[in-house]
């Protein structure tokens, strides 16, 4: 029987007997429950689950993500989300203002532009519809983008946003985290770099405990390390 927060590999046996239920990223065969991905075990009552340590982003409705314009069509823009599946942002979902039929769409969003958007629909084949009409959803300009594995996003955000708030406070940067693992940081260049390092530190050490303390130390005494 595995314990909480153990690292297991695909196919590793987690428990025997029918006392437990197979949760996320696990499967049952006979009377045994096995892991389905490389990850950290979690026990929640009778449910055993694995929190993946890596793996592709699975698009979900209402997820906020950062996407990149790769093509302009008659009705909008095709976006890359860093996954295997393409995403469409329709003109009517992009802006509240009225857009003329023969308006040059590249003046609104050009190829290569990055945007913060929300997923409004996901088909059964993982094709994605996007939405950019709310405040907080917009084209990105300035600052820097970094990529972390999407499985690490919850750790970077922290419980009730505590971790990301800590980083924002200590670096004075605006930080937007896409659920697809793309993060936008905007502030003073030196502070942007510090925030980038902090986020990558969390991502690389997400399987460890005590990250909040480590982060406080990292950001608190930061000026010594940063030349």
């Amino acid at each position: 029987m595995i314990k909480e927060r153990e690292i297991v590999v695909p196919g590793e046996c987690l428990a025997e007997g029918l006392d437990y239920l197979p949760g996320e990223n696990t499967y049952r065969e006979g009377d045994k429950i096995f892991a389905k991905v490389l990850g950290l075990t979690g026990i929640s009552g009778r449910v055993l689950k694995i929190t993946a340590l890596s793996g592709p982003y699975v698009p979900r409705v209402e997820d906020k993500i950062i996407a990149k314009v790769i093509d302009i069509t008659m009705n909008g823009w095709r976006m890359s989300t860093g996954t295997a599946y393409s995403a469409m942002l329709n003109v009517k979902d992009a802006t509240t203002r009225f857009v003329n039929r023969d308006e040059d769409l590249s003046k609104i969003l050009a190829i290569g532009d990055y945007v913060v958007v929300m997923i409004s629909k996901v088909t059964s084949q993982n094709l994605i519809d996007l939405y950019m009409k709310d405040p907080g959803l917009h084209k990105i300009s300035g600052g820097r983008l970094i990529k972390i594995n999407c499985q690490k996003v919850p750790r970077v955000i922290g419980k009730q946003g505590s971790m990301i708030t800590l980083i924002k406070d200590k670096t004075g940067c605006n930080i937007t985290i896409g659920q697809n693992g793309i993060v936008w940081i905007k502030g003073e260049p030196d502070k942007e770099l510090l925030a980038e390092k902090a986020i990558k530190f969390i991502a690389d050490n997400s399987h460890q405990e005590g990250l909040t303390d480590k982060m406080q130390a990292f950001l608190g005494g930061a000026d010594h390390g940063l030349q």
Partner: protein, 238 residues
């Protein structure tokens, strides 16, 4: 049993010294280094990603596509002209078949998981090393799988059943049989089985039983490589 003493002094069921590491290619979604004796394989997984050409796309499931390649300086003689050949194409195909049975392909419809394996030096057992490396890389990439696949070659040299033949054994001046095998761990089922040479049915069964033990050793190493990646804290952020 004429072949009692192996050319490199190993016991009949002894594998060559091995080494494995996960996550050694930062650009890849998952990666691995696998060494057995003097055969080294680097594996990198990219995906799931968009599958081209489009007609290959299947709305119910994704595909796994292996690409096996030997570096020009990795052969035991002359330089190998780059560009692949029929042998590397065939190995790529058997790798697909060896790995696909444990992968949950329904998790990435219309997409492809590309597995690239390149070898900088070789001394027999190359397709097995490639599969073992690929399995680590797939797990490292977070691809959902029922189990890990472990692979090693067994065979017989001059009537003696052995595990993990080196090049000198494959080329031994007697009747030799080289049998690459890949197996799942939990159900002990075979996903790769090839053979060239000559062997009796009795010896073949003996060899397959030896393969069970041998792949078990490979499995332990693969698990260790994956868990070791997360065993320490990473602190170099200066």
């Amino acid at each position: 049993m004429a072949y009692n003493k192996r050319v490199d002094g190993r016991k009949l069921d002894q594998l060559r010294p091995m080494e494995a590491k996960a996550g050694i290619i930062p650009n890849a979604d998952g990666s691995a280094f696998f060494k057995i004796g003097k055969t080294i394989a680097y594996a990198a997984v990219y995906g799931p990603r968009e599958l081209y050409p489009k007609f290959l796309q299947d709305p119910k499931k994704g595909i796994i596509r292996c690409h096996y390649s030997m570096m020009p300086f990795s052969g035991s003689g002359e330089r190998i002209r780059p560009g692949g050949n029929r042998r590397s194409q065939e190995i790529s195909m058997v790798m697909d078949a060896a790995l696909a049975p444990v992968i949950d392909l329904s998790a990435f419809p219309n997409a492809v998981v590309d597995v690239f394996v390149d070898l900088p030096q070789t001394d027999a057992g190359t397709r097995c090393a490639a599969i073992s490396a690929a399995a680590i890389a797939l797990a490292d990439a977070g691809i959902p799988m029922k189990d890990l696949i472990s692979s090693v070659a067994v065979g017989q040299v001059d009537g003696t059943v052995v595990a993990d033949l080196c090049y000198d054994e494959e080329a031994y001046d007697a009747i030799v049989s080289d049998i690459p095998v890949a197996m799942t761990h939990n159900t002990q089922e075979i996903t790769l089985l090839q053979m060239d040479g000559e062997i009796s049915k009795a010896d073949l069964i003996k060899a397959l039983e030896l393969a069970q033990k041998a792949t078990g050793e490979i499995y332990q190493l693969q698990v260790k490589a994956l868990k070791e990646k997360y065993s320490g804290a990473k602190n170099d952020y200066q």
